[in-house]
Amino acid sequence: MTIAVRVQGLRKTYGGTAVVDGVDLRVGRGEIFGLLGPNGAGKSTTIECILGTRQRDAGDVEVLGLDPGRDRRTLFERVGVQFQEMGYQDKIRVGELCALTSSLYDTSLDWRELLARFGLKDKVSAPVTALSGGQRQRLAIVQALIPDPELVFLDELTTGLDPRARRHVWAIVRGLREDGKTIFLTSHYMDEVETLCDRVAILSHGRIIVEGTPSELVEKASAAGLEEAFLDYVDDALEHEGGSW
C-alpha cells in the first residue's frame, strides 16, 4: 500500500502546553481515514500542521510525498480541503465562487458538472448566503473537489445537517473512494465513522490512544458499538493521565 499521508512524532506546543504530543499517523492511498477525538483533543491542530497552515514544533509530515510547508503550491494542486466553516465573500454567487476556485488551479474539473452531481445545478446564480445548511455543505465539498484532488480533507462535514442530508453526503464520500481518492476526515458521529471509514485513529490529549478498523476497535474494547468503544477509550485515557476535565 502506498502512503498518502505520513506523520511522525508531530508536536505542537502553545504556551508550554503540548496540544499535539508525538502523533504518528499513516494514511494509505485510496483509504477513508477518520481522525476522532473529543473536543480539545488536538484534532484541528493536527490537521493544520499536516496542511502546513500551522508551523509544527517537531516531527515530520509528508503529504503525497511533499512537505506541505515548503511545497505548498505544488501540493495544493493535488489536495482538496473542506474546512468546517467555508469562507466566502460577501454577496458572492455560487457560480462566481466556483469559477474563482477553479481559476486558482492549473487544471480543474468542470465545476458546472460538479454542481450538477451534487444537486446544486439550479443554484448557479443564487447568492451563497441563500443556500440551506445542507446545500452549503455540498458546495464546500464541490470547492474541495474542483482541482480533481488525489487526497481530500473533510473536517466535520456533516455537522449541523439533517439525517437525510447526512446520508446524501455519505453516498458522495463513498463515491469519492470509488473514484480512487484518499479521504482524511474528522467527525463526532460514530455511526458516520462506522459506515464510512476504513481505518480510524482516536486522539486524546494530543496523543493517538488507539488505531485500527472500526470493527477492530469495537472488538478490542468489547463494546456494543463504535460510540461505546470510543467513550471507553477516551475515559481510559483520561484515567491514565490521572487528570480530569
Binding site: T53, V81, M86, I92, A99, T101, S103, L104
Partner: protein, 238 residues
C-alpha cells in the same frame, strides 16, 4: 494569469454590489467637488480639482482596499485560499487592480464634472496627468495593500485605515486647500504620501515645469514599491 484575471473580475463584480463603495468611492468625491466649487473662488478650481482626484484615490486605496482584504481574512476566505496554489502577490495584486478600476471611474466622473461645470483645464495635458495619477495611485494603494495584507484582524485594519485616511484627507490638501494651514502643519504634512500626491497632480494641472515634479514622483514610486513588497512578504492568511 488566469487566476489574476478571474479574481480581478470577481472583485469588480462584488464591488459594484457594494453600495458603500459606490457612494464613498465615486459619488462622494463628485459631491465634494461640487461643494468646493460652490464655496471657492473659480480661479482656485484647477488646484482644487487635483486635490479631489487624490481624494478618490485615498477613499479607494486607504479604505476600500484594506478593509476588503481584512474582511476576507475575517471571513476565512484567505484561510481557504491558503490551501490552494494561489499566492499573496496574486491576491493582493488583483485586489489592488480592482480598486484601481474603481478609482479610474471616480477620476473620470470627477474630471467630467470639473471640466463641464467649473471649466477646469489640465494645463500639463491629459497624458502627463494620467502618468502622475498612476504614481500617486501606486503609493496610496501600496500603503492600503500593506494595511490590508498584514493587519491581524478587522479591528486593527479599521483603526489603521482610519488613522491614515483621515489625516491625509484633512491635512494633505485633498479636501481642504493646503494653503490654509500654518507653516508648521504644512511641513509636518509633507510626510503624508497624499501631500506629495496632491503636489504632483497640482503641478500637472497648473502646467508647472516637470523638473519640480521629479522628487514627489520618486518618493511616491519608492513608497509604492516598498509597501507592496512588504505586504507580500509579511502577508497574513489568518
Amino acid at each position: 494569469m488566469k487566476t489574476f484575471r478571474t479574481v480581478l473580475v470577481t472583485e469588480l463584480r462584488l464591488a459594484t454590489r457594494n453600495v458603500d463603495m459606490i457612494v464613498f468611492g465615486i459619488i462622494f468625491p463628485v459631491i465634494v467637488l461640487l461643494v468646493t466649487g460652490w464655496v471657492s473662488d473659480p480661479e482656485d478650481m484647477n488646484a482644487n480639482f487635483a486635490g479631489i482626484v487624490c481624494f478618490g484615490i485615498c477613499a479607494a486605496g486607504l479604505m476600500m482596499l484594506p478593509l476588503t482584504i481584512a474582511d476576507y481574512r475575517h471571513r476565512k476566505v484567505l484561510k481557504r485560499f491558503r490551501v490552494t496554489p494561489t499566492s499573496p502577490a496574486t491576491l493582493l495584486g488583483s485586489s489592488a487592480l480592482a480598486a484601481c478600476g474603481f478609482v479610474a471611474v471616480s477620476a473620470v466622473a470627477t474630471y467630467l464634472v470639473a471640466r463641464f461645470v467649473f471649466d477646469v483645464t489640465i494645463s500639463g495635458g491629459p497624458g502627463r496627468f494620467v502618468i502622475a495619477f498612476l504614481f500617486v495611485q501606486a503609493a496610496i494603494f501600496g500603503v492600503g495593500t500593506l494595511v490590508g495584507g498584514v493587519a491581524s484582524n478587522a479591528k486593527v485594519a479599521n483603526a489603521l485605515a482610519a488613522g491614515l485616511y483621515f489625516p491625509m484627507i484633512l491635512l494633505s490638501g485633498v479636501a481642504v486647500p493646503f494653503e490654509v494651514f500654518p507653516r508648521p502643519v504644512q511641513l509636518a504634512a509633507q510626510i503624508l504620501p497624499a501631500t506629495q500626491g496632491v503636489a504632483l497632480l497640482k503641478g500637472v494641472v497648473l502646467g508647472e515645469p516637470w523638473t519640480g515634479m521629479l522628487i514627489p514622483a520618486a518618493i511616491l514610486a519608492v513608497l509604492g514599491a516598498v509597501t507592496y513588497t512588504v505586504a507580500v512578504l509579511r502577508f497574513r492568511w489568518e
